[in-house]
C-alpha cells in the first residue's frame, strides 16, 4: 500500500492502484518464472501497474526547463527528525512527474535509462526532474521541520 501511495496523489487513488495491481498480480502469477524473489517481482508488477494507472486515468506532468538549478546538500538530520508517514505524505504532495521519477530512481533503484524507457521520456528529462524533485522535497521537509520546531 505504501508503494502505491508514493505513486498516487492521495490514499483513495493508492487504493485503486492497489486493487488493480493485486488483480494483475493474480492474473499474471503464472508468468512468474521463479527467478528472483516473488516480492521483487510483485513490486515490479505493482510499479508497472501504478504507471499504467497514471497513463490511463490521466495526469501527466511536464516541466519548464529551468537551467542553473542550484541544489544545496540537505542535512540528513532533517529526514531523521521526521517519521516515515510524514515523509510519505510529503512525497505524495510532489507534482506527478517529479514524484514518479523520484520514486523510481531514489526509492526503487531504477536507472535513468530504465525510467526513460518506462515513461517514454528522455534520460536528460529524467535527470532534470529528479534534481527538481529533490529540491522541492528538501524545501518541503525543511519547512515542516521549521513549523514543528
Amino acid at each position: 500500500m505504501a508503494l502505491c501511495y508514493r505513486f498516487a496523489r492521495d490514499k483513495s487513488e493508492a487504493e485503486d492502484m492497489l486493487q488493480e495491481g493485486f488483480v494483475r498480480v493474480f492474473d499474471k502469477l503464472d508468468l512468474f518464472s521463479g527467478e528472483g524473489s516473488l516480492e521483487s517481482w510483485m513490486r515490479r508488477v505493482m510499479i508497472n501497474n501504478a504507471l499504467k494507472y497514471k497513463q490511463k486515468y490521466v495526469t501527466r506532468f511536464n516541466y519548464s526547463e529551468i537551467e542553473n538549478y542550484h541544489v544545496h546538500d540537505p542535512s540528513p538530520s532533517i529526514i531523521d527528525e521526521l517519521s516515515e508517514g510524514e515523509i510519505l505524505d510529503v512525497i505524495t504532495t510532489l507534482p506527478d512527474g517529479y514524484r514518479t521519477v523520484f520514486n523510481l530512481y531514489v526509492i526503487e533503484g531504477y536507472s535513468h535509462k530504465e525510467i526513460a524507457d518506462l515513461l517514454n521520456i528522455g534520460e536528460s528529462t529524467s535527470r532534470s526532474q529528479l534534481v527538481k524533485a529533490r529540491t522541492l522535497l528538501r524545501d518541503k521537509l525543511t519547512k515542516i521541520i521549521r513549523l514543528a520546531g
Binding site: Y5, Q19, V23, F26, F61, Y63, I66, D73, L88, P95
Partner: protein
Amino acid sequence: MKNFDENIRDKVFNSEMDVSDHIWDYIDSQISTKNERSRYWLFFFGSIILLPILFIGTYYVNNNNLSNSESIVVAKDVSQDNILPHAEIALDGLESLIEERLTDDLSPIAKSNKISPLVSQSRKSLNLGFQIASFRKQKKENNNLQVIKNNPTKKFNAFYSPYIAERSASPLDLFAAKTQCPTFQAQGNFSSMYTYVNTSGYYPIMILSSAGDDVGDFIAKRKNSESSLVSFSFDAGLGFDYHENWFVETGLSYNQTNVKFYNRKEDVIKNTLRIVETTLIDNISGDEYTQIDTFIDQEIGVTETASLNTFKQIDIPLHIGYRLPVSRVFDLAVSAGVVVNLKTFSKGYIVDSSGVPYEFTNQANTDNLFKTQVGLSYTGRFNLETEIYPDLYLNGGLNLRYTGGNFNSVSNTVNQRFFNVGLGVGMRYKI
C-alpha cells in the same frame, strides 16, 4: 546527495500502511470475475470456431441432399397417384423446366442467391413435389382454399409456386403481393434469412452546441481540449430478404466513440524572493547609499492532462435496404435505419467552465454530466457486396451514423452529438 537519497530510501522503502477492509473483498470479487470472464471468452472463441464449422457442415449436408437426383424421383413417387391434374402437369414438365431454368437468365432472386443453379433448382423442385401433395391435403380439409390459377412462368417465384389459392385474409397478407397457398407464402416474400456480422472503423465528428445558455466560451474551451479519434463499432444479427431485392436487418451492436482530451495548464509551483543590495558611492560627496532591489523568481510548472474519453453504446439496430445488382459480381446494398440505444457508458475528462480538467463518468453518482441512454440514432450504409462462397457474402463500404439525441444530461449546458463517418466490412451467411 547520496545521503539524502539513501536516508529517504531507508525511511520509506519498507514502510507499511493500513488499507481499508473492503479492498480485499473487491480484489476477491475481481479475481472471481476474471475466472468467469475467461470462461466467457472460451465460450466466445469456441462459438467463433464452431459457427463456421456448423455453417459449412450445414452447407455440405444440404448440398449433398440437394444434388442427389433421387430426391426429385421421390417427389414424383409421392405425388404420382393422388396429385391434382394441375400438379401432374407441373410435375411432368418439371425436368424440362429445370433444364430451361438452367439455361435461362436467372431472375434477380436467383442471382442474389447465387447458389449453384443445379443445386438450387433441385432443392426447389423437391420442395414443389411435396408442396403439391400438401396442398391437395389442405384443399380437402379446408374449403377456403381453391385453385384459381396455374401459371408456370419464367419468373423464379412463379416456378416455385404455380398454384395460387384464395383463402381468408390474415396479417401475413400485409407482406404478400397476392394471397397464396400458405406453404408457398414464405418463399414468395421472405425468400431467405441470414446472419450477419459487421465491423466498422469510423471518425466521429463531435457537434457541440449551446443548450440554451450563452456558453460560447465554454464550448470554445471544450473544442480546444477535445479532438476526435478513430472509433469502432461491431454488430451482429439476423437479416431477412424481403420480396426480391429488399432486406431488413436487426440484431445487437456495440459502438465505441473515442475522443482525445488534452489540456495544458501553467501554474506557479514555486516563488523565490531574491533581494539584491547594492552600495552606491557619490564620487563628489563621498556619501554611501544603499539600494535594495527585490525580485520574485517564479518556477512555472506545466500540468498536462490527457485522457481517452470513451462513449460506449450498446444498441439495437433496425435497417431496411435494397440490393441493386451493379455487375455480374457485385451488388450495391443501400440501407438506412434507426438505432435504439439500450445503454451508454461514458468516461473521461472535460474542462469545466473555468478551463480546469474535470473527470466524469456516467456510472458514478458523483456527477451526471452524460446520459446513460442517448435515445435514437440514424444510420445509412452503402456497401458493395459479393459472394465469396455459396451463401456466404462479403461486403464493405461507407457507414454513416448520426446520434439524434444528446449525450449530455440536462445539467450539462453544452449539447453534445456525434456524426460518424466510417468504413465497414462485414459478412452474411444465408441459413
